[in-house]
């Protein structure tokens, strides 16, 4: 620790702290223009010059970056220092007459007018370099810098062209002491919130119903994540709850049962070029239309075209990717009913005409057929024929829709071309891409279409071949919400049984080691994937933990002294079957 006396007041400071910080500690104010504690001192304005006296030698140094290494005496307002400050301010008034802060500081020092020539009366930049420093080091973008040299030095973007590196963070305007830098909005550069989800500024709550409903940092947009700079949010957060190195962590928890409810994934209609999804505007997938209808959507629930107008007519195409040899042969079961729901919503919210293009209207559940009849009465046009193709309508004003839907109405066996403004594709439900990987982890198996295989389609639809692991919902096959809820309850039922029973009912078959024959050769120890086989050191024999044993019998076959017996599948029983069957 260094003892330093500033204007007569003594204090102790760490080695290498600057005079400015020491003075601050004592409450002594030293004027600065180009200093900000967030940035490494640049020492360009020289306003903070003070007199440092060591022994009989006195020296004039800038307080903002002079590191205290030995005990010294500092005078911040000696006559010599004040003279320098006055001259400095007078010169600055000549350079930047319009800078308010310079005029105020000068007035404090008793300077009204500058004796030096004023080149530009409106000039407000005092070349303190704060803006350049903050952009370069704190924010890490480096969009602006000093150009030219000597008196012609000025802050500018390369070639004075609006810099595309600038991320409109406004840090430079915030730090500029004289207000020289102003923010202007450049239309195309403002980050609009994307149609689908909430705003994606660096910190935001993902969407209103997000759980947990707290802001999180989006690493793609946060400057600190990219450059290590900025950290303004952690400085302004009063509770200091911002932790930049929060990472995903893996936790290991012991459970006695697992319910797999990983759900399904929307079929991506883009490969079906004929429907022009992603190419033409207003061709939406069912998921997107559902989002638009949600009250929390950017259009807050209103059904509008991309250009904001209301659609005059909407076509809803069934079986996109389902019941299709090239994609999924199975029927996705839920599309017909949600398609009807969409038609009802459109009829309710807009005056648009609705065309349903279906192969078979599968209104199989309770109340479903009645709903279908009601819709027919509401004037929904129902065409039995799968949508063949969607093409943009010729741009002349007359057509009633900007998209043309080609299809064949099989009931009247005619080809039809229906002009609509919006098309909704009822995309198929397909198994999640990562389903097989999870299956391997949990040791359950997936069918050809990727849906998990239940223990028995009729008798055990929610349990799997591995006891303790259960299935619920669309991961086991396409189904609607009521069915999923039912399955969820069923799976929970199984789990509850295990949890409060406390023990697991085992089936009869498992393997046993006969002590009198086991010679402790340990051939079987490494074989059991369920680690059911352990070695009893005193008795020098191997032992099988019946609870863990799944009775696969591999150890039985491997036991060289035939000491392991697989109940219900003993060697004798199998030998007998072999001899009997081959007679």
């Amino acid at each position: 620790m260094i003892t330093v006396t500033i204007d007569g007041q003594k204090t102790e400071v760490e080695k290498e702290t600057t005079i400015l910080k020491a003075a601050d500690k004592l409450g002594i104010k030293i004027p600065t223009l180009c200093y900000n504690e967030l940035i490494e001192p640049y020492a360009a304005c020289r306003l903070c010059i003070v007199e440092v006296i060591r022994g009989k030698r006195s020296r004039l140094v800038t307080a903002c970056n002079y590191p205290l290494r030995q005990p010294v005496e500092v005078r911040t307002n000696s006559e010599r220092v004040m003279k320098l400050r006055r001259m400095n301010l007078e010169l600055l008034m000549a350079r930047a007459p319009a800078a308010k802060i310079v005029r105020e500081l000068a007035a404090e020092m008793g300077i009204e007018k500058t004796r030096f020539t004023i080149d530009n009366p409106e000039e407000t930049c005092i070349l303190c370099g704060l803006c350049v420093q903050v952009c370069e080091n704190l924010v890490g973008t480096g969009a602006i810098s000093f150009t030219d040299r000597g008196p012609d030095r000025k802050v500018a973007t390369p070639y004075d062209v609006t810099s595309d590196a600038c991320i409109l963070c406004g840090a430079c305007a915030h730090f500029c002491p004289t207000g020289h830098i102003q923010m202007t909005d450049i239309e195309e550069r403002i980050l609009h919130s994307e149609l689908t989800l909430g705003p994606n500024t660096a910190i935001s709550i993902p969407f209103r119903q997000a759980i947990p409903n707290a802001p999180r940092i989006n690493p793609d947009y946060c400057i600190h994540m990219k450059t290590g700079g900025c950290e303004i949010c952690s400085q302004v957060c009063p509770k200091e709850c911002i932790n930049y190195d929060d990472k995903d962590e893996f936790e290991e928890i012991e459970v006695s049962a697992v319910i797999v409810a990983t759900g399904f994934q929307d079929f991506d209609p883009a490969p079906m070029k004929q429907f022009g999804y992603g190419k033409y505007a207003n061709v939406l997938s069912a998921g997107e239309f559902e989002q638009m209808n949600n009250a929390a959507s950017p259009t807050s629930g209103r059904i509008v075209l991309e250009n904001g107008e209301e659609p005059r007519s909407i076509a809803i195409l069934h079986c996109i990717g389902s019941r299709d040899d090239n994609y999924h042969k199975y029927c996705s079961r839920v599309c017909c009913m949600y398609a009807l729901k969409f038609a009802h919503l459109v009829k309710e919210k807009t005056e648009a005409e609705v065309y349903q293009l279906y192969i078979d209207m599968r209104a199989f559940g309770k109340g479903y057929e009645e709903f279908y009849q009601r819709l027919l009465s509401e004037g929904v046009h129902v065409i039995r024929g799968k949508g063949a193709e969607i093409i943009p309508a010729p741009p002349d004003e007359s057509s009633e829709g900007n998209l043309l839907v080609h299809c064949e109405d099989t009931l009247i066996s005619k080809f039809r071309e229906i002009p609509v403004d919006m098309v909704i594709l009822c995309t198929a439900l397909e198994a999640r891409k990562d389903a097989p990987e999870l299956a391997r982890k949990l040791n359950i198996s997936t069918g050809a279409d990727g849906w998990y295989i239940e223990a028995h389609p009729k008798l055990a639809p929610v349990s799997t071949t591995t006891d303790g692991i259960y299935l619920a919902g669309a991961c086991q096959g396409p189904k609607d919400i009521p069915d999923s809820v039912a399955q969820g309850a069923a799976a929970a039922g199984h789990v509850i049984k295990i949890l409060n029973q406390g023990e697991l009912l085992m089936d009869a078959a498992y393997a046993v080691i006969q002590e009198e024959y086991c010679s402790g050769c340990k051939m079987c120890n490494g074989l059991c994937p369920y680690t059911a086989i352990s070695f009893d050191e005193e008795k020098k024999v191997s032992v099988i933990n019946a609870a863990l044993c799944k009775a696969c019998g591999t150890c039985v076959a491997a036991c060289p002294s035939g000491a392991i017996v697989a109940r219900h599948f003993t060697d004798e029983q199998i030998y007998a079957q072999i001899e009997g069957i081959l007679v």
Binding site: A43, A44, C45, R46, L47, I49, L60, V61, T62, N65, Y66, P67, R80, K83, L84, M87, N88, L91, L92, A94, R95, R115, F116, T117, I126, L127, G129, S145, F146, D148, R149, G150, P151, D152, R153
Partner: protein, 609 residues
């Protein structure tokens, strides 16, 4: 090597080269070949001999005959007379200004006699592009001695004992700088040779590199060994192409011989040098700005409260010395610290700041006969430099002042001519040793104008980072310009003084810290000239043209000039009227005081009052 009976040492410094010394060389070789003397006489191109005023120079060794102002046309006569008939050609020799007979031998010429060569010991004696000739002159002998028989600490002690101080301008004792850099933590460390030499009119470093690049390299190797460095940089001005090329050649040859690079002399010591080209900013001569430039950042100085020997290049310990400082090191090692300390003034037994030891190279320019590069021992008086070595003031003009230390050096009046040239006395007198620029001014130079000229340079070269240097010097320059245009007011002088002290005290680096010196010293020693400009609106030296009144003397114009009308035609503002054989007349209102008529009138009919 064939035994030649004569070597023609042709000077190929930048000065002489710009005077076509390369063409002279071709002519010489052609002529010698024609006369079949190519096996007896060898033409050797050398670095600068220093006597730039009289370039292109040729010294015929071993007879030590000195020829000057050679042109291609003189070559046939020279070869015929001197090399065939063996009769030195008097016409081509150097005749001192006031003497009649030429002085044949180089060593007898005043310019060379007064000098003592330490840093420039090999100038004019070796071909800088041939390492063998440098080795013949004991180059790299010092390295052999240091690497095999001296420990780094002993080398540092030797340099400290020699009293060598930085030749870049600061005069910081080199020994102490090396020692503190050696003790600083942080690896790797760097040594830098500052060959930026931004001062206008200064060409010492250029000539040292052009004449004997190996002395600089050898000095750096010794420094690197002493400090424990394996990487060195030479930061050389882009405006010195010849010096840079010779440095490249020298480095390549040194590397081939294994004197640079890995495992020098199989002692396990590795050191290599890289050349970094300066982009021509004067401020980059300052150590921290130079290092910023090497790091690829903008050449801006930073506060030196933390010395560069602890946190220099890439924030690692770095020892930066001037070209001349490095060039002196081999001499010290070879001939011992006592020999070096015996030259120069003061006593360095208690403190290294006590004396100025060894020699200093000055670029003597301005109003002297023998402008050129001189290396003189410390302690020599200004008078000896200007009059002995410099050969006095031409055209019988009166000596007025001499400026030492480049553009931020002070003006020293005639009564300080007997001041001994060393660090302390020059600083006391308000000037500084600086890089070694020395500009002699005579009665025709106006001190105010000279102050304005130098201030214009420093203001143009200011990096503009800190307010005092950027705006302070700008303000001072505006005042000086006002004064030279006759618009100065009485208060300007005090304001100038106040501004000068402000700029010196609060500037961040030495550029701002020394820029006002010319103003302060000119105010101190030549205040009357300022007052003349302000009060009488007259420039005593007639240099400030705005203050001159140009009139035509009717008789001279008619009797001598017969009203030739040259001035009338040349005057840009048509302010002169008159016909043939009639006197001409200048209309004072239209006259812009550009001074063209004065320059063109062959009969000096134009009077300036």
């Amino acid at each position: 090597m064939k035994p030649y009976r004569a070597n023609l040492m042709l000077c190929a410094g930048t000065g002489c080269v710009s005077n076509h010394s390369f063409l002279v060389r071709e002519a010489l070789e052609k002529e010698i070949k024609k006369r079949g003397l190519e096996n007896e006489i060898q033409v050797v191109i050398t670095g600068c001999d220093g006597f730039c005023a009289e370039g292109p120079l040729l010294i015929v060794q071993p007879e030590n005959i000195f020829y000057c102002r050679l042109t291609e046309k003189d070559v046939p006569l020279l070869v015929e007379e001197h090399f065939i008939k063996g009769r030195p050609v008097k016409k081509l020799m150097y005749t001192p200004p006031d003497a009649k007979a030429p002085v044949p031998k180089m060593n007898d010429i005043g310019f060379f006699k007064g000098q003592m060569l330490v840093a420039l010991r090999n100038r004019g004696l070796i071909d800088p592009e041939n390492i063998d000739e440098a080795i013949a002159r004991d180059a790299y002998k010092a390295i052999a001695k240091v690497l095999t028989s001296m420990s780094p600490e002993e080398v540092i002690q030797e340099i400290k004992d020699s009293g060598l101080r930085g030749r870049g301008g600061g005069g910081f004792p080199t020994g102490i700088k090396w020692e503190s850099c050696r003790n600083a933590e942080g690896e790797p460390k760097y040594v830098i040779c500052n060959a930026d030499e931004g001062d206008p009119g200064a060409f010492m470093d250029r000539n040292i590199i052009e004449s004997d690049p190996h002395s600089v390299l050898e000095g750096m190797v010794i420094g690197a060994y002493a400090i424990g460095v394996s990487e060195g940089y030479v930061y050389i001005r882009h405006e010195y192409p010849l010096a840079r090329d010779r440095l490249h050649i020298a480095i390549d040859q040194a590397r081939d011989y294994g004197l640079l690079g890995k495992n020098i002399f199989d002692t396990g010591f590795n050191f290599d040098i890289e050349i970094v080209r300066g982009a021509g900013a004067f401020v980059c001569g300052e150590s921290t700005a130079l290092m910023a430039s090497i790091e690829g950042r903008v050449g801006e100085p930073r506060a030196k409260y933390v010395h560069t020997v602890e946190h220099g290049l890439w924030n690692l310990p770095t020892c930066l010395n001037n070209v001349e400082t490095w060039a002196n090191v081999p001499g010290i090692i070879n001939r011992g610290a006592e020999w070096f300390a015996s030259i120069g003034t003061g006593d360095i037994s208690e403190s290294p700041w006590g004396g100025s030891k060894g020699t200093k190279v000055f670029s003597l320019t301005g109003k002297v006969y023998n402008t050129g590069l001189v290396e003189v021992p410390m302690g020599i008086t200004l008078r000896d430099i200007v009059f002995e070595v410099g050969g006095g003031i031409p055209d019988g003009k009166e000596f007025k002042s001499v400026q030492t230390g480049g553009p931020s050096g002070g003006f020293l009046p005639a009564d300080l001519l007997d001041l001994q040239v060393d660090f302390e006395q020059l600083t006391e007198a308000g000037s500084m040793m600086g890089s070694g620029g020395m500009v002699v001014m005579d009665e025709d130079n106006c001190m105010v104008d000279m102050a304005r000229y130098f201030l214009a340079f420093t203001q143009g070269e200011s990096c503009g980072k800190c307010t005092p240097c950027r705006d302070g010097v700008k303000a001072m320059l505006e005042i000086l310009i006002r004064i030279t245009e006759g618009k100065g007011v009485e208060e300007d002088l005090d304001l100038l003084e106040e501004l000068s002290h402000f700029v010196i005290d609060s500037s961040l680096c030495a550029l701002g810290g020394s820029a006002p010196n010319p103003v302060l010293t000119s105010l101190k020693y030549f205040r009357e000239e300022y007052e003349a400009h302000i009060r009488d609106k007259k420039c005593p030296a007639r240099a400030c043209r705005q203050l001159n009144v140009y009139t035509i003397d009717p008789e001279i114009c008619v009797s001598k000039g017969h009203g030739c009308g040259v001035c009338r035609r040349e005057c840009p503002d048509n302010a002169i009227t008159g016909e043939k054989n009639k006197t001409h007349f200048i209309n004072q209102d239209a006259c812009e005081k550009c001074g063209v008529c004065f320059d063109v009138c062959k009969f000096d009919a134009i009077q300036i009052t």
